[in-house]
């Protein structure tokens, strides 16, 4: 049973981790995009539609990435080229995404979905327990793991990553050094959108292979919170995402076990547990002010107009 629970946790956590990683990159470059929920749902509908029309869940994944990415470019154009307020634009993006996806998806409502099948990795999947849990997963899970380590390496070990973090910390100085702030931010926003789209694809191809309006049901907002929770560090996003997923699934089992044991625990309290856990960890993390300050991109959310 433990194995089954773990598999459920992975399914529930993966979209959170992926969307949060994308937002992390965007925020590290200094752009606060509150439109994660909107980009995610656009990814979900694009992935579902593509998979339905082509019959291939893999093209579906691609569709989700492109859907989320294209949608994020709208945000990029408004906030980076037209220098609109990032918070307002992000919120508008979410509202637009929820509505637009509903419109696009109307034709696909009630259709049985195309499920993304797991890829069983030879040899590794024969390892007892871990083999089945970690190496018999679908492509999106493997991508999520690759993203965690890839982004970690990119941000803290690569030259481009260093430049990007410099922009996020002080776009004025970075600009003076000759780094192209706007172009880098465009790429970061696009990457964030693509990740949110991939997370959406996971929802409509793996988690619940169907299209239902609003099916992201607030997961984009949780991903946003995870970035702050993780103090802008990829490995902590992974930990935070799985903590949230595990507590969320765990509380369902806790309800059932409490029932069998005849213990009365209010289910409302248990449902609130993932959020409580998140807040508690957040308090513990922010206890150390210095590390928080070091990790927070100082230019986050500030508009940048290059002087010519």
């Amino acid at each position: 049973m433990f194995e089954a629970i773990l598999l459920t946790v992975i399914t529930a956590s993966t979209p959170l981790v992926i969307a949060a990683l994308g937002e992390l990159v965007s925020e590290r470059s200094g752009v606060l995009n509150l439109g994660v929920e909107g980009m995610m749902i656009m990814g979900a509908v694009a992935a579902f539609a593509t998979a339905q029309l082509t019959g291939s869940p893999y093209l579906g994944i691609l569709g989700g990435i492109i859907g989320g990415g294209l949608f994020s470019l709208l945000f990029g154009f408004l906030t980076l080229t037209l220098v609109a307020n990032q918070v307002a634009t992000g919120l508008a993006l979410t509202i637009l995404g929820l509505g637009l996806s509903g419109q696009i998806g109307e034709a696909f409502v009630g259709m049985p979905g195309v499920r993304l099948q797991p890829i069983v990795i030879p040899l590794l999947s024969d390892i007892p327990f871990f083999g089945r849990v970690l190496f018999s997963q679908d492509l999106i899970f493997y991508m999520s793991v690759a993203l965690v380590f890839g982004i970690s390496w990119f941000l803290f070990k690569s030259r481009t990553g260093l430049k990007m973090r410099a922009i996020g910390d002080n776009h004025g100085s970075a600009h003076a050094l000759g780094i192209n702030v706007v172009r880098t931010r465009y790429l970061a926003v696009l990457f964030g959108g693509a990740c949110a789209g991939l997370a959406g694809a996971q929802l409509s191809l793996v988690y619940t292979p169907q299209w239902v309006e609003n099916m992201s049901a607030g997961r984009g907002w949780i991903a946003l919170a995870l970035v702050v929770f993780a103090s802008w560090r990829p490995l902590r996003v992974l930990a935070g995402g799985y903590l949230f997923g595990a507590v969320g699934i765990g509380q369902l089992h806790a309800q059932l076990l409490a029932q069998s044991g005849g213990i009365a625990i209010p289910s409302q309290l248990l449902s609130a547990l993932p959020y409580v856990a998140t807040i508690v960890v957040l308090i513990i993390i922010s206890h150390n002010r210095r590390t928080t300050l070091i990790n927070t991109p100082a230019s986050l959310g500030k508009p940048f107009v290059p002087d010519r």
Binding site: M1, A4, I5, T8, A12, I95, L96, L98, G99, L100, G102, Q103, G105, E106, V109, G110, M111, P112, G113, L203, Y207, T208, P209, Q210, V212, E213, N214, M215, A217, G218, R219, G248, I249, L252, H253, Q255, L256, L257, A258, Q259, S260, G262, I263, A264, I265, P266, S267, Q268, S271
Partner: protein, 357 residues
């Protein structure tokens, strides 16, 4: 966004209300507030099918604007009030959680008629309507007891309100009428609408050993999980056979259309009165989806029970019934009053859960 557009349209209509009062008189506005999206495949979709039937039946006399995905809570009051101001003659608020908001707005707009689904608070201009879903759940319980090898079913519940508790009890009573040892496990998802969470709840129940699944949430996600894991399940609010062609045993299908037409006609005639309507299988406000994926004898039993409930021969809540703790609730042959059912806040014997307070 759609919500926003409709809201804008409603506001515009309100502003233009003075100029265009002549045209407004031609077509009465019959308005709907939905808690989910109109294509959720479940609860809200059933209401929207009812709305479409209404529009079709009285097409030359009415228009039927609606607001979808209105959250229960403070937003609901604003949404209902906006509808009331926009000149609606009758407003249907279609979720239990809209109750207090509807009561408040109804008090402010005495000339507008309100109808609130599944609630229990009425007023001069506020009627309530509901379907006796428990009748369908009793039949489901009987089928579950026949089909489950372990005698253990899983129930995905939304919120601990009387409507849901009543459904759980009816299911258990139906099951026990076939197998007195039948047990029911309940998981509270604390949401009406979240495909992911509903699927998680379904998986949790199956992992804990149930071999048949039923739900009181709005999407087809649990049906899909049941299909994947190869256990049978029951649909909710709409026929969910598309999500589980080899999985769905039957579904409680809400058919609000005839009711909406009847009551709207009453508004047009001026004969509308505030009533508390609670119709059942015999009135056709709920129907059972075709009995599928079960042996013929189970199907025959289900059909017989359905016929008995329709004829009034069988009331699912007929004593002797004990409460969960074993204390007596109904004596042999005794039937509860409707208001007791509508305020139900306790489990009957056999439910394997402590009711959240």
């Amino acid at each position: 966004m759609k919500k926003l557009i409709i809201a804008l349209a409603a506001t515009t209509a309100m502003l233009g209300g003075f100029a265009g009062s002549a045209s407004a008189q031609e077509k009465k506005k019959i308005c709907f507030i939905y808690v989910g999206s109109k294509t959720d495949g479940g609860w809200t979709q059933a209401h929207d099918i009812g709305r479409q039937a209404l529009q079709k039946a009285l097409d030359d006399k009415i228009e039927t604007p609606f607001l979808e995905s209105v959250p229960e809570g403070p937003d609901a009051e604003r949404a209902i009030e906006r509808m009331a101001r926009s000149g609606c003659a009758l407003i249907y608020t279609t979720s239990f959680g809209f109750m207090d908001a509807t009561v408040k707005v109804a008090a402010k707009f005495p000339d507008v008629k309100f109808e609130h689904a599944t609630g229990f608070k009425a007023a001069e201009n506020l009627a309530t309507y509901n379907a006796r879903f428990y009748e369908g759940r009793y039949i489901q319980g009987q089928i579950a007891a026949k089909m489950s090898k372990k005698g253990l079913a899983g129930y995905i519940a939304s919120f601990p309100i009387p409507e849901v508790v009543m459904g759980i009890n009816a299911f258990e009573l139906g099951a026990k009428s076939v197998n007195p040892e039948f047990k029911l496990k309940v998981v509270w998802a604390n949401t009406w609408f979240d495909p992911g969470k509903e699927a998680d709840a379904a998986k949790a129940l199956i992992d804990q050993g149930v071999d048949i699944l039923t739900q009181h949430t709005d999407t087809t996600a649990p049906m899909q999980v049941a299909a994947e894991r190869g256990i049978p399940a029951f649909g909710q609010a709409s026929d969910m056979i598309a999500a589980g062609p080899k999985t769905q045993l039957t579904a409680i299908v809400d058919t609000w259309g005839a009711y909406y037409i009847k009551r709207t006609q009453a508004v047009l005639d001026g004969s509308w009165k505030s009533e508390q309507i609670w119709d059942g299988l015999k009135d056709g406000i709920l129907t059972m989806a075709p009995y599928t994926n079960m042996p013929d004898d189970v199907k025959a039993m289900a059909e017989e029970t359905e016929a008995k409930i329709k004829s009034g021969e069988l009331h699912p809540f007929t004593g002797p019934i004990n409460k969960q703790d074993g204390s007596a609730w109904l004596a042999a042959g005794e039937k509860p009053e409707d208001k007791v059912l509508l305020g139900m806040n306790f489990y009957v014997e056999g439910v394997d859960d402590k009711l959240p307070k």
